[in-house]
């Protein structure tokens, strides 16, 4: 029973990690808290839903939805945040703009799509499950862990072992100096939006598959878990987001299993407040916390 709970927690946790990774990448490199990020999660889930309803297999729908969510992220970033970046507005201005935009986008999505819960067409993924030592792992769960693993490793490789990653890290450190050293800041800003939007979209598809329930506001719920994960992991810390995502997912699953499932959504916030009191720099604490 415990082992099964832990596996379920690992599955949920890896989608949290995937989701939080894009959010923390955006914050780390672009220096903004972009609250519309949760919307890309909903966008991804809906795009995959529409694609599979039109007969696409999940193997095509998943990357397609991720890519298109990334494009949505690039457009929204260019419309809302580029003007503020150009005007060197304070960081809270970008938070407020995306806050307003979040409400606007969700209300519009809600008006267009309604809040009805939708489901993937049956047979979109093989329903058989494998059983290892008494633990059931469904195809969906396997796909989630594999997809999350591939995407996370790819991102870590890009960030740490390529020239592109070097440019991104330089941009995160000092945007103006990075520009002087020949980093094409504008292009990298769009690339980061694309990547993180794609991560959000992909995790939307995966969570949609896991619970088989898709509706416009799913991204808003996810966003709250995202805050808890990135603060627990340390704002802008990629490795921290990864570990914190797994921790939050596990603890939520255990709370649902052993306490009551209605309280599981409170776990993230409790962790968030505890982190702020005890260790504001997050799990690994290597980053200098941005103090006021």
């Amino acid at each position: 029973m415990l082992a099964q709970q832990l596996v379920n927690g690992l599955v949920v946790g890896s989608t949290y990690a995937l989701f939080a990774l894009g959010f923390t990448l955006m914050f780390g490199v672009l220096g903004v808290v972009n609250l519309t990020y949760g919307f890309y999660f909903s966008v991804g889930a809906f795009l995959a839903l529409f694609a599979t309803q039109h007969g696409a297999s999940i193997w095509i729908a998943l990357p397609l939805a991720a890519l298109l969510s990334g494009c949505v992220a690039v457009v929204i970033d260019a419309a809302l945040l580029t003007p503020l970046r150009r005007a060197k507005a304070p960081e809270l201005a970008s938070l407020m703009v995306t806050l307003g935009a979040t409400m606007l986008l969700y209300s519009l999505a809600n008006a267009a799509l309604s809040t009805d819960i939708r489901r993937f067409p049956p047979g979109v993924i093989d329903a058989t499950a494998i059983e290892v030592a008494g633990i059931r792992i469904s195809m969906t769960q396997g796909l989630i862990i594999a997809a999350a693993g591939v995407m996370v490793s790819a991102l870590l490789w890009v960030m740490n072992a390529t020239r592109l990653g070097l440019g991104l890290r330089a941009l995160a450190e000092r945007p103006d100096v990075a520009g002087l050293m020949g980093v094409n800041a504008g292009a990298l800003v769009r690339l980061v939006s694309l990547l993180s939007g794609a991560l959000a979209g992909a995790s939307g598809v995966l969570i949609g598959l896991n619970y088989n329930a898709i509706q416009p506001y799913m991204g808003e719920v996810m966003m709250l878990k995202g805050f808890a994960v990135i603060i627990l992991g340390g704002l802008g810390d990629i490795r921290g987001a990864l570990v914190a995502g797994l921790v939050v997912g596990m603890l939520e699953t255990l709370t649902a299993g052993y306490v009551a499932s209605s309280w599981k959504d409170a776990v993230g916030f409790v962790l968030l407040v505890l982190t702020l009191w005890i260790r504001p720099s997050g799990l690994f604490g290597r980053l200098a916390v941005k103090r006021a």
Partner: protein, 286 residues
């Protein structure tokens, strides 16, 4: 005339009440924005005030003034728990923590037995009314105008414009920020309690994310140069859906769009003038 006024009040009672309550909420977010911070927990503080006051009135029959006091103190404590660790960090942390506060509070209200669960609390007896709502609004406005014209107001404005410089000039940044958040939580709690006692019914979903963003849109539309800006913004945004009926269904779309437009195109809001300083007339250079 008196008869007309009575008729008018009877027909538009709820609107008149919500104008006053929203004015108070606008002032509550104003205090936080005035020191250059962003709280998305105003709706949560309001909800806490509403629930505490309603429970005290319904279950224990406590006198109304004491109920209001409790409705101000409880959110202030919540503000301390969330604010004390975050206000020493960059402004992003407070914003994220307060969004979380609103959500977790909603979960508690929905799941706890004594708060009436998802159905909320109904049958709250009517207390207060016009005089207590508009009296509180007037008192708060006068107090904020006095503060804005004083040394404290100047310090707050300095923090908002350039925190680093204000700190270097001796402004106690963490104390001001925490003080502002606590005052703001108290005001929001008061607004929640007053509102609960004129509307007789409260439910957990009244105090969610949309409510918090709406409160922020009041202040951003009106501008935060003076306390009058946010109140003006609240009045406009409360009346707008009443005047333009078709807009009522798209209230959240409009409020969201106002925030986006206000931050990008008119960062100073509608009422852009700043408060003068007390005694400035006597000190004008020749």
């Amino acid at each position: 005339m008196a008869e007309f006024l009575d008729d008018f009040l009877f027909t538009y009672q709820n609107l008149v009440y919500s104008l006053g309550v929203n004015g108070l909420l606008a002032l509550s977010i104003y205090v936080v924005l005035a020191v250059g911070q962003l709280s998305i927990g105003q709706a949560a503080f309001m909800g806490l005030g509403a629930y505490v006051s309603a429970l005290l009135t319904v279950k224990l029959g406590v006198a109304f003034p004491l109920v209001l006091l409790a409705a101000m103190i409880t959110p202030a404590l919540a503000a301390l728990v969330v604010g004390a660790p975050t206000l020493r960090l960059s402004g992003v942390y407070l914003a994220l923590a307060t969004i979380g506060l609103g959500e977790v509070q909603r979960i508690v209200f929905i799941n706890a037995e004594f708060t009436g669960g998802a159905l909320g609390l109904s049958g709250i007896p009517t207390r207060g009314g016009l005089i207590s709502i508009y009296g509180s609004l007037a008192l708060a406005l006068v107090a904020f105008v006095c503060v804005a014209r004083s040394k404290i107001g100047r310090a707050m404005e300095a923090m908002r414009e350039d925190e680093l410089a204000a700190g270097a000039l001796g402004v106690d940044l963490p104390a001001y920020k925490l003080g502002a958040l606590v005052v703001s939580a108290m005001l929001a709690g008061l607004a929640g309690a007053l509102n609960a006692h004129v509307s007789s019914f409260i439910s957990p979903n009244d105090y969610g994310f949309d409510a918090a963003v709406t409160i922020l849109s009041f202040a951003l539309l009106g501008g935060i140069g003076s306390p009058f800006g946010p109140v003006l913004g609240a009045f406009i945004l409360t009346l707008l859906p009443e005047v333009l009926r078709p807009l009522a269904d798209y209230k959240t779309v409009v409020n969201g769009a106002i925030i986006v437009v206000a931050v990008i195109f008119m960062p100073r809001g509608l009422l852009a003038w700043r408060m003068g300083r007390a005694g400035a007339a006597f000190r004008r250079p020749k």
